[in-house]
Symmetry: C2
């Protein structure tokens, strides 16, 4: 086995010769199209078995124009949020006999562009993307095959989109914090901001980020907290700089008494940073995070989370995309899935 060189693969012609029929006929039974008599069908099948014929999907795709696979571009496959969503996508795809080519953008637009280019060159039938940045979406606009957006909507892009009710989720979560008496509340996200923020949330194009911020600000406003915009911290992923940023935040005189984290990776980093600073949850600081990652229930204290239907998120985009692949041409749909908040033990009353 394992001859790295050429695999003298068996083709339809070989099978046809063996079965003593024309290439066209053999192709018909092997490809499962057209009409063939039972006798001939049996003969061809037998010949195929004898020769151990395996169809060349590439050749098939070339003529049909369909490759039977979809491309998925996510920010970071290591983030359990995406792993789970991808599972949802894969499961649905498998049921339709479609397979998934996965690409990682690392939340970098250039990598994203490149991944899309490669996937398109591979003739994927459709694409599911979690756009890394909001500013640059020209490359998404010019995609000539069905496209669906996962978790992050782009208002300028009229395509199938599945998100969660981020704004409302952020609003409710923040309210839990304000009602516990907190007034110095920070929102910490891994998202990068292109350009300057200065409170103009409407300028943020990525829906997920914008909506959450709007919800956060709204809750703060309800509680008469001013300048909530200043407590929004971008770019807090798993990097060195992010860690430093968190340390600075936690050690500042204006240290927040409560934090809302945009995903479980950020939350875990925050959790560690909080501990490193000798602070404790929820006495010194309260924490709520998006995504009910599996570890959030086993920490001490367990973390209050915004439970997003992540698997369903993946499942839904995949269904939307596949439906479109099958020729459906309704106007683009924007599905918003509901979230629930699981209150655990990481929120305490404000000391201040």
């Amino acid at each position: 086995m394992n001859r790295p060189s050429k695999a003298p693969s068996v083709t339809v012609s070989d099978v046809a010769r063996e079965a003593k029929v024309s290439k066209a006929t053999a192709a018909r039974v092997l490809g499962g199209y057209g009409t063939v008599s039972e006798t001939v069908r049996a003969a061809v099948l037998e010949a195929a078995r004898a020769l151990d014929y395996r169809p060349n999907e590439l050749a098939r795709s070339m003529t049909t124009g369909r490759s039977g696979s979809i491309g998925v571009v996510v920010g970071d496959i290591e983030n359990p949020f995406f792993s789970l969503a991808v599972r949802g996508i894969s499961d649905v795809a498998r049921l339709s006999g479609i397979n998934v080519i996965l690409a990682n953008s690392g939340e970098d637009v250039e990598a994203e562009k490149n991944a899309i280019r490669v996937l398109l060159a591979k003739q994927v039938d459709g694409l599911i993307v979690t756009p890394a940045q909001s500013g640059e979406i020209a490359h998404l606009k010019e995609i000539a095959c069905p496209l669906a957006l996962l978790d992050r909507a782009l208002p300028e892009l009229a395509v199938d989109t599945v998100t969660v009710d981020d704004r409302n989720a952020a609003l409710r979560a923040t309210r839990i914090l304000t009602r516990a008496g907190h007034r110095r509340i920070a929102y910490v996200t891994a998202a990068m901001l292109s350009g300057d923020f200065r409170g103009a949330a409407s300028r943020i194009n990525t829906s997920t980020v914008r909506e959450r911020i709007l919800g956060f600000i709204e809750a703060c406003r309800e509680a008469d907290i001013e300048g909530a915009e200043r407590n929004i911290h971008f770019g807090s992923g798993r990097s060195e700089s992010a860690h430093a940023l968190m340390q600075r935040l936690l050690k500042s005189a204006e240290r927040p008494t409560a934090i809302l984290a945009s995903d479980s990776v950020v939350a875990l980093e925050l959790f560690k940073a909080i501990r490193e600073c000798g602070l404790s949850i929820p006495q010194d600081i309260s924490l709520i995070t998006f995504h009910d990652a599996d570890w959030t229930s086993v920490t001490t204290p367990p973390i209050t989370v915004i439970d997003q239907p992540v698997y369903a998120l993946g499942k839904s985009v995949a269904e939307l995309l596949i439906r479109r692949l099958k020729g459906d041409d309704r106007p683009p749909e924007r599905i918003v899935l509901p979230t629930t908040i699981i209150e655990r033990m990481s929120v305490g009353p404000s000391e201040a």
Copy 2:
């Protein structure tokens, strides 16, 4: 944008016509092979730009026989162990301009067979597999392209393989437990066992599982613990039945005072089950797990783990496979990466 129907894609011929050269010449500059004069090259490039030519990777693959992509079949992409290994693979692949088609086997042999069939039909240049079961490997033997094994070796299969020193790791971890005075120690793994076990570890074909068990038994033997074989529990994944199995284990009269878990997913389930049973770590029960998953350091108490170089594991197999893709034909290599144990707070002295 987004016409789901036909994309009247621009071909080499179109570019050739536009540039007023032959198809062969246009193909030469577009494909980057052969020799072309500067003038003509510029003209073709210009025409390609004007027409927005995008190569059809499929067509290219068909003639060259190489698809420029490798297939990766892992047990469960949701398991952080695999996500991280896949990251390692992707990163290496990207550097070589190769992309990765990912498939999930769900640790099921039939799904694995199917995934491999599909990937092969898509003409992947090589395969990286984490074999789900040890018994059935016929489908792996007959793979006609370079194959590399990730994390699990198969002695009968002479192909490039990268694993960790499972036996030694299990040995050292178990010793920590025996030296703390534990005598009722359980090894809990998600692996399924085909057929009966009855202590004949040598009958287990999957190296990872077998080696760990051997290391575990060896350590028990060193400490004069008899019947360690009876304390090995298979099939403890994330399923309902697994949960029931854990509950039973923890509530039995012969409840172990220490547990070694085969991966972080199993460990997390165990951690929850232990808590549900009203037991505490490390007072009532000690716990060590394979894989330094990120959450293991934030629980109370933090978990002692066997730190596997997961990213390097992925990186190495990918390098091995790609080297072979490039024509290297040395005999198959079996790389064993070292592990280290990170002692945290989940191991205490035995009460018994």
